[in-house]
Subunit: 331 residues, 2 copies
């Protein structure tokens, strides 16, 4: 007599069935999920993997790990102008991972999935002799033809960015070296702001329809503003300039850079921003800004594209800044 | 001056751009892939993760690892009646993984993607201090309403299976203990057959439309025939019986079981079959068998469903067999 109820089934039933909010997951009783895409839409697909000790600290709260794993993918969708349809999760867990860890992870993932309208449709749970490894695939939709590529920028357009830049990267520095003099002037709230921005990206889903309406090219800023913009311009076949003084900073980041100017390189090159950077034709900038404001997302013009190739990041006097490697690379 | 060409970009350009066969991948220059789903279709989504040392041997040929990672997902699609649309790959690699390993992995993945009509649309490549970890998400499509669930079986239906059962599980035993007496009678070709079935699943995509046309419930056999059927019947709310003598065996598997009858438990419970098991109403069996033959896929009736619950696996005399745990579990 076979019960057909394996350890993996019980694991899924305990931790993931409660958070499977959509009929598409078939209560996670199937190996595959079913999803009816909206009529007349294109699908946008993104997949990011994160590894304990590489992309997050092994002792990060499991709720924070879950949120970041989902949100970095939602950030990719937003930058392409897409609305989320759902996500699939694969998680590899070391043997002996406490139940409390999985409970907190799954609860936070479920809460975020509900908050962002991105139901968990299914996935896979396996064991590993290595570190916790999470791979999340998110699906979104855009009206047919509405996908905003990374490759569409042309010369003579404004480079715009949402929110503030550098908080996540400075939050990581703060976490690694809390006694560093650059942070001495920050109050508790400012420190909390930086640490929170590193742990909990805020995907700019509200900006997605605005990006779709106005941007010729867009991407989310994950590996560092300067490097990511350079990448977008390179694949678009044009050059450009970012004026460092125009890059929007939070009060906390501005205070840190004032205390230690060399940290501007971290702000512009550190990554973990999960803001949207886009190119918008100059003539459409006022309408773009008005619609972004209506969507509740602050945006700033930080530079412009030009013929040729390469990206210059310039200081207040128009002189090129040297940011070193400029973009975080996992290799 | 920022080149926007990071190590990760070069890695993707070197190994994955050559195999990105579809416009949907945008040449892998974007963070997200674009896919226009066929009109009037539902999407079928599946995601399986595999870890070196858990799901495959670390010294397996990288080409075999790539093929299995893709094919186990295609097997899930086939069992749901779906045709592949594309796949996304996340791979976590230990530092120092030889270029030759990645070259062989990517080449085989690209060849399989082309052979099975499932283009690689995008993904993520990260480093890990742990073992090679691969998560693959496959998307497929069925005509609207055509998804074949695991939950639709009812009493009084035939249980059918494709191909032969047990070869993969015996291949694993052979690999671990080549000197075992049960294998002594096998010739080189038979040994090769078992080893190959373990390394290289053959997803039954040709059977997908037939499954869609006839099956009330279906799943692929990955964790062991007996356990998987028990699972399907449990979520369908009925019971059933498999007659062990009706389960189709290859000549190699039959010889092994004749030499060591206890290995029947491995055949029926070991898994790694990637065949399709389905329930088909008795009245439709002849038409099902004819269409399966036309698709070039051998199928066999191995039992029937009934009211109640639980699955009995019976021997030639109708007596229940005890298969022990019965289903491979990753926990």
């Amino acid at each position: 007599m076979q019960s057909g109820d394996s350890g993996e089934d019980r694991f899924i039933a305990r931790f993931f069935r409660p958070i499977a909010g959509s009929a598409a997951a078939l209560g996670l009783m199937d190996d595959a999920a079913l999803l009816a895409p909206p009529d007349g839409c294109d699908l946008v697909l993104t997949k990011d993997a994160v590894v304990a000790g590489v992309h997050f600290f092994p002792d990060d709260p499991p709720a924070s790990i879950a949120r970041k794993a989902l949100r970095v993918n939602l950030s990719d969708l937003a930058a392409k102008g897409a609305a989320p349809l759902g996500a699939l999760l694969a998680i590899a867990l070391p043997k002996g991972t406490p139940d409390a860890w999985m409970e907190a992870f799954a609860a936070a993932l479920g809460a975020d999935a509900a908050a962002f309208g991105c139901p968990i449709l299914g996935g896979d749970t396996v064991s590993t002799p290595g570190p916790v490894t999470i791979s999340l695939t998110a699906l979104g939709s855009v009206p047919k033809g509405g996908f905003v590529p990374r490759t569409g920028a042309g010369p003579g357009q404004a480079i715009v960015v949402s929110g503030t830049i550098g908080d996540g990267a400075l939050g990581l520095v703060l976490r690694q070296d809390a006694a560093r003099r650059a942070f001495a002037g920050l109050d508790l709230e400012q420190r909390g702001h930086l640490l929170d921005r590193y742990l909990h990206p805020q995907p700019r889903l509200a900006l997605a329809p605005v990006v779709r309406a106005y941007a010729t090219a867009a991407m989310d800023v994950s590996d560092g503003l300067a490097g990511d913009v350079a990448k977008m311009l390179r694949v678009s076949g044009c050059g450009g300039r970012i004026e460092a003084r125009r890059v929007p900073l939070s009060a906390a980041a501005a205070a840190v850079v004032a205390a230690e100017p060399a940290l501007l390189a971290t702000v512009l090159g550190g990554g973990d921003d999960y803001e949207i950077v886009a190119c918008v034709p100059h003539a459409r900038l006022p309408a773009f800004a008005a619609d972004a404001a209506r969507a509740g997302v602050p945006v700033a013009r930080i530079g412009e594209t030009r013929d040729g190739q390469g990206l210059d990041v310039t200081d207040a006097g128009g002189r090129p800044l040297d940011l070193g490697a400029g973009s975080f690379s996992h290799f």
